[in-house]
């Protein structure tokens, strides 16, 4: 009993240290995050013009268009909402430096290319991820299944191919999941009764509950090797 308690103490202390390390320098890293996002995306409609990094007052990034901070006095990004901004480019990996971000909405833009395979390293604390209505391609990365706090995952209206990683069914907080209108095929994850068939509409060949059962030999689909 005592060794169990000691182990738990050590683990929680280590976790606490780990969390405090990642949370230190939040301000500087968040500023670098937004600088990197602005640099990596083309903004033909100039809607990011309010993102002026010459200002350096306390919490200045909190007044940028589309940025919501944890509180107004500190440059610590809570949510990024850049829907319908005409932005062009790949998924901005500079978001890795927005270490306290829990909401990301880049829907209705012209983002292209594949998502990074290490999504969980880049946006680990997201509760909402909305990348719907872009031009994203490639496969849905398995690592999204490690973004364990996700409540909302919207990837609909893109050009994702291949299978939906079955591991996504392990996201215990999912309330909304939508991959409709992509080029996906194969068995769908098991989210339970909350996710309905319309979350999967408009794809190539998805199967499994809540859709009709998958056909064909299990061995043909078992290797996962392309």
């Amino acid at each position: 009993m005592t060794t169990e308690w000691n182990r738990i103490t050590v683990i929680s202390v280590c976790l606490d240290i780990l969390i405090s390390i990642t949370c230190s320098n939040a301000v500087e890293s968040d500023i670098n995050c937004l600088k990197s996002v602005k640099a990596s995306l083309r903004d033909p409609e100039n809607l990011l013009s309010s993102w002026d990094f010459n200002d350096s007052t306390e919490g200045f990034i909190c007044r940028f268009a589309g940025i919501e901070c944890w509180h107004p006095d500190e440059s610590k990004v809570l949510n990024i909402y850049l829907s319908e901004m005409g932005l062009i480019g790949g998924f901005p990996i500079g978001l890795k430096n927005c270490t306290s971000m829990t909401g990301l909405d880049l829907s209705n833009n012209r983002l292209n290319g594949p998502l990074p395979t290490n999504m969980t390293d880049i946006v680990h604390f997201l509760t909402t991820l909305d990348l719907s209505s872009n031009n994203l391609s490639g496969e849905i990365p398995v690592s999204i299944s490690n973004i364990s706090f996700l409540n909302v995952l919207k990837l609909d209206n893109n050009r994702f191919t291949g299978r939906i990683p079955y591991e996504l069914g392990g996201l215990s907080r999912i309330k909304e999941f939508n991959v409709s209108n992509n080029l996906l095929s194969g068995p769908v994850p098991n989210f339970g009764p909350n996710i309905k068939a319309d979350s999967y509409a408009g794809n190539l060949d998805l199967c499994g509950p809540p859709l009709p059962r998958c056909k064909g030999e299990p061995s043909k689909t078992s290797t996962g090797v392309k």
Binding site: S12, L15, D16, I19, S20, C23, W70, H71, D73, L78, S100, T102, F125, T127, S145, N146, S148, F149, N151, R163, Y166, E167, G169, G170, S172, R173, K175, G186, P187, N190, F191, G192, G208, P209, R213, C214, P218, T221, S222, G224
Partner: protein
């Protein structure tokens, strides 16, 4: 003659009732009293409360106070004002208050449970002070609350489960306190990550257990994995 004196006393009584009733309808008076009670309990070295004159009919002309069209207080904005001293239960009388901004001061003492009466409150910002004691479970009554920021204080005790019933909650920050016990994950708290709770050494964050590895996608349904809920706290 006998008929007239009861008539006079009745009408006098009615007049008194009418006057008292009219006075009670004037929000401004009791709200000014409530704010004045706060002023008395606060230490104000920068004189930010200098304009707070309790002899005025209502507090709506006081600096840092905003009222609605009916002269009832909707915002109290005293962030970063170098105030010390304590909060008062009378704050719970500001029934139309939407924004209570007292962050970045040196306020000590407890969070009054009467704040749970502020049914219209949208933002409760008491962060960066020296508040102690528990988070009152009455705050669960604030059903319109969107921002609850109590970080950087010395609050103790457990996180009241009543807070999980506030569906409007968008931003929660309880970090940098001395809270203990388990972090709820149900209700509105499903939307919050460890980022809302860190730097509370005695607080047990929900443990994420990755789903069991799946080498092949099965053709039969497997029940969805759900992370175990933390054990409920005994009161």
């Amino acid at each position: 003659m006998d008929r007239i004196s009861p008539l006079i006393s009745t009408s006098t009584l009615l007049w008194f009732i009418f006057v008292l009733y009219s006075f009670s309808k004037v929000y401004g008076n009791s709200e000014g009293d409530a704010l004045n009670a706060l002023k008395v309990q606060l230490s104000d070295p920068n004189n930010v409360l200098q304009s707070w004159d309790p002899t005025l009919v209502n507090p709506c002309t006081w600096y840092h106070v905003t009222c609605n069209n009916e002269n009832s207080v909707t915002r109290l904005e005293l962030g970063n004002a170098s105030l010390s001293g304590q909060l008062v239960p009378q704050l719970g009388q500001l029934v139309n208050l939407q924004y209570l901004e007292l962050f970045g001061n040196k306020i000590t003492g407890k969070i009054p449970k009467e704040l749970g009466n502020l049914k219209n409150l949208v933002s409760l910002d008491l962060y960066m002070n020296r508040l102690e004691g528990r988070i009152p479970s009455t705050l669960g009554n604030l059903q319109k609350l969107r921002y609850l920021r109590l970080h950087h204080n010395t609050l103790t005790g457990t996180i009241p489960y009543s807070l999980t019933t506030i569906t409007s909650l968008e931003v929660l920050d309880l970090s940098y306190n001395r809270l203990r016990g388990h972090v709820p994950v149900n209700g509105s708290f499903a939307m919050f990550t460890p980022k809302s709770f860190y730097h509370n050494p005695g607080l047990k964050l929900p443990v994420y257990i990755p789903p069991p590895p799946v080498a092949t996608a099965p053709s039969i349904a497997i029940p969805p994995f759900t992370a175990p809920a933390p054990a409920p706290l005994s009161p």
